[in-house]
Amino acid sequence: MLDNECMVGAGDSNGGALLRNFTGMFTSRRKFLRRASFFGASVALSGAVQSCSPLFALNQAGAPAPDYRIEIAEIEWELSPKKKIRTVAYDGQIPGQLLNLTEGKPVTIEIVNHLDREEIVHWHGQWIAVAADGAMEEGSPMIAAGGSTLVHFTPRPAGLHWYHTHAMAGHDLKLGLFTGQSGALHVAAANDPGSYDQQQFIIMHDWEPYYSASGDGSLMVMYVCGSINGRMLGHNAPIQVREGQSVLFHILNASATEPHWLSLPGHRFKVLALDGAPVATEASVETLRLGPAERVTALVTMDTPGVFVLGEPRDEFRNAGMGTLVEYAGRSGKPTEPRDVELRWDYRAFADPNTVVHKPDVTIPLVFTSRFKGHGALDQWMINGKSWPNSEPIKLTSGLRHRLVFDNRSTDDHPVHLHRHNFELVSVRGAALSGVHKDVVIVDAGTTVEADLVANNRGDTLFHCHQQDHMDSGFMALFRYS
């Protein structure tokens, strides 16, 4: 049971959060902490302290020093010597620094916003409280322009997760996830033995977006180029391996809108976890498919010496930069590219061979539709006929098993994401499965996916398509505990 509605308190033992916005008056971390202490003491003396005041708890805890500091600022970034972009990123780098956390060990992260607009950082995949989650729709506070925030939470669950902006982009392709505001958040299990020789983080992102006519008649977002770990193919440092090594790949699709495939010629991926959650069957596959925000943790045995491109098997994406080199020790020459690869992906490959589907307590149909707004406009998206913010919250009851029926009646695929929880897939295209837990699932156009959610983390919970243009065009809904 993971119920942490009252997330602030001494000890903060249940995954709670300490979070507070401060304005630009605090120009340095030292001033920030001093002012925070003073303000907290003043509030305490006035006798107006509420039991759930984040600031009060911060002082009670002795204003813990941040374990990490994330700075949000505009940068110029070199994807390749011939391709420089201006964007917003964390800590002056793309992707943002790797946050290596330990499951169950509280962490404090300071976020400094150097922009002249509000920002917000979402801890994607973490079962934490609303105040820390980083979604304004749930009630998480924004980080003021020029301001700072301290976020404190207890990481769980273990696995590959990520952190990213949750700000709206609207029609501006220079905001939101179209920027470089993303990074990997790796939560190690407290007693993870780690049976591999090396681990590599692979973060895919697309750059220089533009609107283009789509096959279904509305606008869609296309990109000029892509990158892995912030560099275009041929311009990132090769991954150096030795024959016989086991390499654990932590792969994240941080694209704002684009699903991606990934292949390594001559090798197979033994999938250990999806969205950080261990899978029931560790199946080996030739190609990975990751919708926006999806993660795959996979082990690759390096048993085919040579030089290879780990990248998109689709030429147009790989030629646009989506790839990185894998070099065996002592090998050189022209890299073998992933070509003529069958693009096949099925969540059921990782399911429990003995399917066990529990009877739900509540069934919640979620019908995805769109409304045409013109050939020169984005579609308006709806869940159960309503677009955010003109929709009523969907009720959850703590402790109950809710069957979410994702019924995609549109012509687009949707990587739908649930905040602060994950769910277990129980059917895909009508075929039952179990043992695959995720927080993002691609619901292909015209298909239905069913997933079970056990409501165990009280507080408003956002549900949305993780395509930035879809979520900004109404594809969101709020789950509210009754």
Partner: protein, 260 residues
């Protein structure tokens, strides 16, 4: 729109009321090019319901003529294409007659350049029989600018034409702009207005009486990404213009090769 040697004839003719207008392809171009590994086949069917009833020199009148044009366009890459035209005419007592052929390469500003408007440049060269157009060889260059915004779309084609062989060679460059404005009533139905004109030589603009001006209320049906339907009825208000034309374009895209 490609109307072979139209206004040039008007200016060259010594009798202003005698005019020649040949309606083989009546279309305002958008800036998009056909995608690579894709062939677009279009059939342009234009019927002149009320047009030129008399011979202009040796040129056949076009009143009640049915003009069928086959246009085959091959996408080269994401910024160029080549089109080929076969013009035919059918008129009572004459049967189906081959009129001529044109070749039309086109380049565009790639979408990846992220310009705020679509821009492309088309050039067209070709031959037509003297019975159907006094200038047997001519050339056209057509800048194209367009923009889709919400439900609205507009395109401007300020085309320039030049006769290479025939009586109008000495007239120089002819200005034949066309414009389209449309609105998406639904996802599948777009309605709008197309305007076609020929102002004569750019160094000697014809009087309004001798200009060709046509307005086509038109409908586009967007039933599939592979198909194109356009239907319109043209009204020519000036003396030098055919008064009524009915046009229809049916196009089909064929994709070739392996999608990579």
């Amino acid at each position: 729109m490609k109307r072979i040697s139209l206004g040039l004839v008007v200016l060259a003719a010594s009798i202003p009321c005698v005019r020649a207008q040949n309606n083989y392809e009546i279309q305002v171009y958008g800036a998009d090019t056909v995608a690579p590994r894709t062939t677009m086949v279009e059939l342009h069917s234009n019927f002149t319901a009320d047009g030129q009833k008399n011979f202009v020199g040796t040129q056949y009148p076009d009143n009640h003529a049915e003009h069928e044009t086959i246009e085959i366009t091959q996408g080269i890459n994401d910024w160029s294409e080549v089109g080929f035209y076969i013009f035919t005419s059918e008129r009572s007592g004459q049967g189906v007659q081959w009129v001529g052929d044109h070749l039309r390469p086109r380049v565009r500003i790639p979408e990846k350049w992220r310009w705020p408007v679509g821009v492309s440049l088309s050039t067209e060269v070709g031959y037509q029989r003297a019975r159907y157009a006094p200038d047997t060889w001519d050339w056209e260059i057509r800048p194209i600018v367009d923009k889709t915004s919400g439900r609205w779309y507009w395109a401007v084609n300020p085309a320039l034409e030049r006769a290479w062989h025939g009586p109008d060679v000495k007239l120089g460059i002819d200005f034949s702009p066309s414009v389209k404005v449309s609105y998406d009533f639904t996802k599948k139905i777009t309605g709008g207005v197309e305007y076609y004109a020929d102002y004569g030589s750019i160094t000697n603009i014809a009087s309004l009486h001798d200009q060709q001006q046509q307005i086509f209320p038109a409908i586009d049906l967007n039933v599939s990404p592979d198909w194109e339907f356009n239907f319109g009825v043209g009204i020519g208000p000036t003396a030098a213009t055919d008064h009524w034309i009915i046009k229809c374009i049916i196009g089909r895209r064929f994709q070739w090769g392996k999608k990579r």
